[in-house]
């Protein structure tokens, strides 16, 4: 298979899977009045748990035996948390944290 065709298929699979996850509740409960209690409960409690898991997912490429790999992550994550607790501005927290991380990996912890 040509690489371009394979890339297009990868994108198509991603698009289909993304839409499928969004479609699930409408297919399951679109014909009922109210989804069952356990589903509504999970809908309420899962988002913060999923965010915690996604943050851990972002650490998958970190080499835990190297301080040069760990420290930029830890420092920049702390910058994001503290800035966000202080200003509560999404763009500022994400922007400053990312710039901080880029500077650290490009100039400090090489």
């Amino acid at each position: 298979m040509s690489p371009i065709l394979f890339a297009i298929l990868t994108v198509a699979v991603t698009a289909a899977c993304t839409f499928a996850t969004r479609l699930v509740p409408f297919v399951l409960f679109g014909t009922r009045d109210k989804p069952p209690a356990i589903v509504r409960y999970l809908g309420e409690v899962l988002p913060p748990a999923v965010m915690a898991i996604l943050i851990i997912y972002c650490l998958k490429d970190v080499d835990f035996s190297s301080a040069n790999s760990i420290l930029p992550q830890v420092i920049s994550a702390a910058v994001v948390v503290l800035l966000h607790l202080w200003k509560r501005n999404n763009l500022l927290s994400i922007g400053a944290g990312t710039v901080c991380y880029m500077l650290l990996v490009q100039f400090v912890f090489i």
Partner: protein, 231 residues
């Protein structure tokens, strides 16, 4: 229509900045993986998800198989299964726009729709649709911009992928502040760390989600029993 457009635009300004920035980060990453702005535009048009698109760059450049791609994307996006629950009745009333509203239900659009009180003289359906549409336009524009910048200006973008980590941290902090009960966040973190240590780091999301759902379901049963016993 003018009324609805200006209201929807004002509501989406925070997402405008966030999506331009994150979209640009995605475009830069995609460009550095060897895919130009045309890819960026099509991916943002047809996939349209933040975390999933960042993961897609890794899958494309790592040459992952289609099955791996499907499992990864389903597990990364699985949280979206729960967003629609709040909008089943509302979206059903939107007729031809129903499929688009489901397709475009990202984290940010979801949170805007949850918190939007439409003024009395505006049509809620139009406002909902315009909020969803504007958000996606910002996202497509950002991705194209990022890929073009990456192509035209020689620029060391290494580290830009931290934007995704930062986004998740910000949402996590917001949810932590808003939550009355921190147990779900703690359960997710503990299950996540344990599964991260046991499984291959690139495949731990699914077991982590399954154990989290199991633990939270048990937790709910237990707290019901406790409430019952207190009576």
């Amino acid at each position: 229509m003018k009324e609805e457009m200006s209201f929807a635009f004002r509501r989406t300004v925070p997402v405008l900045f966030g999506y331009l920035f994150l979209g640009t980060a995605f475009g830069l990453m995609l460009q550095s993986a060897g895919y130009n702005f045309i890819w960026a535009i099509f991916i943002s048009m047809f996939v349209y998800t933040g975390s999933g698109q960042f993961a897609l760059v890794g899958l494309l450049s790592g040459g992952a198989g289609l099955f791996t791609t499907a499992v990864m994307q389903l597990s990364i996006n699985s949280r979206h299964m729960f967003y629609g629950l709040s909008f089943i009745e509302k979206f059903k009333r939107m007729g031809k726009l129903y499929p688009y509203m489901i397709f475009s239900l990202t984290d940010e659009t979801y949170s805007l729709l949850c918190s939007t009180a439409v003024p009395g003289n505006a049509d809620e359906k139009k406002v909902f649709f315009l909020i969803a549409l504007f958000d996606q336009i910002y996202w497509i524009a950002g991705s194209a911009l990022g890929a073009l910048i990456g192509q035209l200006i020689p620029f060391n973008s290494s580290g830009v992928e931290f934007a995704m980590t930062a986004l998740f941290i910000v949402i996590f902090v917001e949810q932590w502040i808003a939550a009355k009960n921190h147990m779900p966040a703690i359960v997710g973190a503990v299950c996540g760390i344990i599964c991260f240590l046991i499984f291959d780091p690139s495949n731990f999301i699914l077991p982590a989600l399954v154990t989290t759902v199991a633990v939270l379901t048990m937790y709910r049963q237990l707290s019901f029993k406790r409430k019952g016993a207190a009576k």
